[in-house]
Symmetry: C2
């Protein structure tokens, strides 16, 4: 058996190694367009930033190591030009000298990945406007930094690469302006969760500008002028484009393979394409979202590696099925960790799901043990059965842990009751006896059982215009004086029982505190005393971050003018 | 409704607060024998060690705060003496003045906890022999340290409290001898996993002595002499007993409640005891192990808190059931983290389960990103269906995360295939594209599918005596020269394909490398070339830790004389 693999990173490299372990006799050839195989593409921003100092760490595997360890032939700097599925051949060009040859295959695995999008804007071809996808890209940026010593950079796009590049450029001492065309960075988060990221990025010195699409670029000898749709212009020494990726599926398209969303390659659960003996894996394939079931493009290393292994299994006669991805992500931003799994509100709405959500604010570990920080956890669930469908977390310590627990729970079909019951490992340096994930379960079940009704920041606009309700803040007086929701009145929680008479039972009470914990207790007191009451999800601190955003007008008349 | 709660820590405090949130009208009385309510008992060793400097952090909740926030009456320094279930009364003594009174209840919740075991050895009543369970105990030890400035301490028992006290005493500059009567510390681990903990404790300066039961204590004016069964004597300034806890169930027993294992209180899933209107929660109750289904005593804060909440739910008419605990644990030892969940080998054997296990050694995050450390993960599973039944992890960064992922997976009934498919969040600072948990799944499935056969360190004794087998070490020559398993021959993996002729096909080949990764590849090469071969689980590094243990005679004639 002869297997040809197009693309030697992540999915392709995983497939190759697994193939060899399963079949010692197969002939395995990997065609890789770049000069490197199985390189650390998720590490590239950190190489640029000097966090990873040693160039060789990015490229621990080499064609030589693949050969000596796995008896696999890796042909770098060789590009597959076309596939002939009938003849079962691939036309290959050696990039060194431009010569071409035809390679036969019994089985073909496509792992072409995705390519960085370069919007066709005027001036975008300026050599100081760069993208980051390959080792060569990283070397190019690094060389530019060393030779030209830029003092300012514009990063366009607040996705993973854009954010990691912003951090890493700042790390090398370069000032960074981050341009985001929409209301928020990190599309994996909902807007309200992204607000904390915005505030943090700004506190770290990133000049973040939302609602700032680029109109064009103008290169001068000295600099690049980035012109925004708003008419504003930014002079800079370097532009990094991080506006997304698209499947590099031209080979598949030209060979007549069925394509799906955004030009991705359609595969079944066995990672087989529509054409016999051709498999596809990685960033270029359309996969099933494990929660919504919808066809998705999820360009992440974890799924790519698993798919490569599964394709190899099936080629070697082990029956293996890929059941889809959760889209679990995590990113480090300076000391902050931001993570998500499953569906966010935008995705749940798109899937037509009748979801609800809770926002909890929990300590990363027992507060009496030094070093605890708080994390904000937003959990989406289905009210009808309590099924948990997604989670987003913003915080510092322990965020990566909780997102993996949530991913595991959601992937196993957990309900909120299951979250309540999770027996997680507790010791003061690591967690609390009621872990943040347990807490999310408790709050969801309180909502589902009708023990408390919630309201959300998006309801404030309507509430501000109503005169038949009470906005009640149950924090202490000094907290209230330092800032509060417009029109709110203050009765500290511990005084509430004795001051119930001050509240008009004819009016619904909308209660907030700092994090929604005291206000929940207040709601329990109020509802058992005959009040119709609602707990403000996320609390004042969550509101305060959102209200500080560009596009959010906090005045009582237009409180929620956020364009999402 | 009037609810009396005996015991105001963890389970009792959780129950009280939940009761109030569910029922604003109930009269709620908490009787607490110590002077403190809802205190941070898991933090006590860290207070002794000065990690938690502020005394008040241990006792953030007070009777006053319980009253003002929850309208709950906490009576500290009041001990329940007896219960009259027929009359529904509790006889209470005020410890301040010895006066007694009778309190009535409609519902009673017992949360008496467990008490530190004090073995009845001669001399054990010396005032310099202390235990740690309550805030008062912590104050007593701390006062002793300040007044007497001990230079050496003996800690008896290598469970959680013993180990945390050893670390914290060392942290204050005191030399520590840790006496363990059996072969290993941390009974939640199997012996082989504990060996790495032993080596680490010793490297940190703990004078750890296994197989060292105490015969008696002799107090002199200057010191305490600890006499071991071996005849050896240790002079010390302070002894901390950490030899375990037992349910404090005398009230329940005297009231005629049904008792279970080790004097624990029998409850059903609703946390109801055998007597109507009496509930019990926390360290004193017998619960179901969620994996084995066996009756267990699991004295941990997480389960106690959940049980308190469930008892309160049921008292207030919300139907709530406790489904049992996984026994998930985690402990910090200096910079090391040690954790476990579900069943270990000892427990699986006791439950009569036909289990198997894999030992994997994975980086905490991408190795090309700075700061990665390795963790050892032992995963137990059922070969028949791949069900994962337990995990133990020893390492540094990321151990707490992986144990919680494992706990979540196991509690949801995951199989090894589920572990393979878990879509965990990956970025270089946090994980690898194939997370250590995924890797465990891969290895288990390789074993279950027959791609590789394993052998374990416990098999070495037999293997050393056989002349019909080959012990093959596939590490590089320099690694081999630095130490290897007796009788092993060396063929580095990358040379194996070309040197297959050196091996006799008539003999089974037992292959090892450093961590079992290269030896797995070697096994795949060998088996496809017609060899009967076995991969050494855990690799040389795992063996080397075990072979260095007291009780393990590494000579070829008696390789495995470990008393377990």
């Amino acid at each position: 058996m002869k297997v040809v693999i197009i693309g030697g990173v992540a999915g392709g490299a995983s497939a190759a190694a697994r193939l060899r372990r399963l079949n010692e006799q197969a002939e395995i050839i990997v065609l890789e367009r770049t000069g490197f195989v199985s390189y650390a593409n998720c590490g590239l921003p950190y190489y640029v930033g000097g966090v990873i100092c040693d160039k060789n760490k990015l490229t621990l595997q080499t064609p030589q190591s693949f050969y000596s360890r796995f008896n696999i032939e890796v042909r770098v700097r060789q590009e597959a030009l076309s596939i002939d599925p009938a003849a079962k051949t691939v036309l290959v060009r050696r990039l060194e000298d431009g010569s071409e040859y035809t390679e036969t295959y019994d089985k073909l695995i496509l792992s072409p990945g995705a390519k960085a999008v370069r919007p066709a804007l005027p001036g975008v071809d300026d050599p100081r406007i760069l993208t980051l996808r390959t080792v060569e890209d990283a070397y190019q940026i690094q060389n530019y930094l060393e030779e030209k010593k830029p003092r300012h950079a514009v990063v366009v796009g607040g996705g993973f690469i854009g954010l990691e590049m912003a951090e890493n450029l700042l790390h090398t001492g370069i000032s960074v302006t981050l341009l985001q065309r929409s209301a928020q960075v990190m599309p994996s988060l909902d807007f309200d969760m992204a607000c904390q990221v915005h505030a943090y990025l700004r506190s770290k010195g990133v000049d973040l500008r939302t609602f700032s699409p680029v109109r064009c670029y103008e290169g001068t000898q000295k600099s690049v002028r980035v012109l925004l749709e708003s008419g504003e212009a930014i002079e800079t020494d370097l532009v990094i484009l991080g506006v997304g990726v698209e499947p590099d599926s031209h080979l598949a398209r030209d060979a007549g393979l069925e394509l799906g969303a955004k030009g991705s390659i359609v595969v079944n659960g066995r990672m087989e394409t529509s054409v016999p003996d051709i498999y596809a894996v990685g960033d270029a394939v359309e996969i099933r979202h494990a929660v919504s079931g919808s066809k998705s493009l999820i360009s992440l290393a974890g799924p790519a590696n698993k798919q490569g292994r599964i394709a190899a299994n099936n080629i070697c006669g082990l029956n293996s099925t890929y059941d889809g991805a959760m889209g679990s992500t995590v990113i480090k931003l300076f000391d902050m960790t931001v993570a998500s799994t499953g569906l966010n509100e935008k995705m749940a709405k798109a899937a037509g799901m009748a979801y609800d959500r809770v926002v909890t604010y929990s300590a990363s570990h027992a507060t009496y043990y030094p070093g605890a920080t708080n994390l904000t956890l937003k959990t989406l669930f289905l009210p009808e059965n309590g099924a948990v469908i997604g989670a987003q977390i913003v915080g510092f310590e322990g965020v990566d842990k909780r997102i993996d627990v949530m991913a595991t729970a959601i992937q196993s079909g957990a309900t909120a009751e299951d979250l309540e019951e999770l027996d997680l490992a507790y010791a003061p340096p690591y967690s609390s006896a009621k872990d943040p994930v347990n807490m999310a379960g408790f709050v969801i079940e309180n909502v589902r059982k009708g023990l408390v009704k919630q309201f959300h920041w998006t309801d404030l606009k309507d509430l501000f215009s109503r005169r038949d309700i009470i906005l009640l803040d149950v924090r202490n007086e000094d907290e209230f004086q330092n800032g509060h929701i417009p029109h709110a009145v203050n009765i500290p929680l511990d005084a509430l029982r004795s001051r119930l008479g001050e509240l008009d039972k004819g009016r619904s009470v909308y209660v907030n505190c700092f994090s929604a914990l005291r206000s929940y207790i207040a709601c329990r007191i109020l509802s058992q005393n005959g009040f119709d009451c609602y707990n403000f999800s996320g609390g004042y601190r969550f509101y305060d971050l959102i209200a500080g955003e560009n596009g959010f007008d906090a005045s009582p008349t237009h409180p929620c003018g956020v364009k999402l």
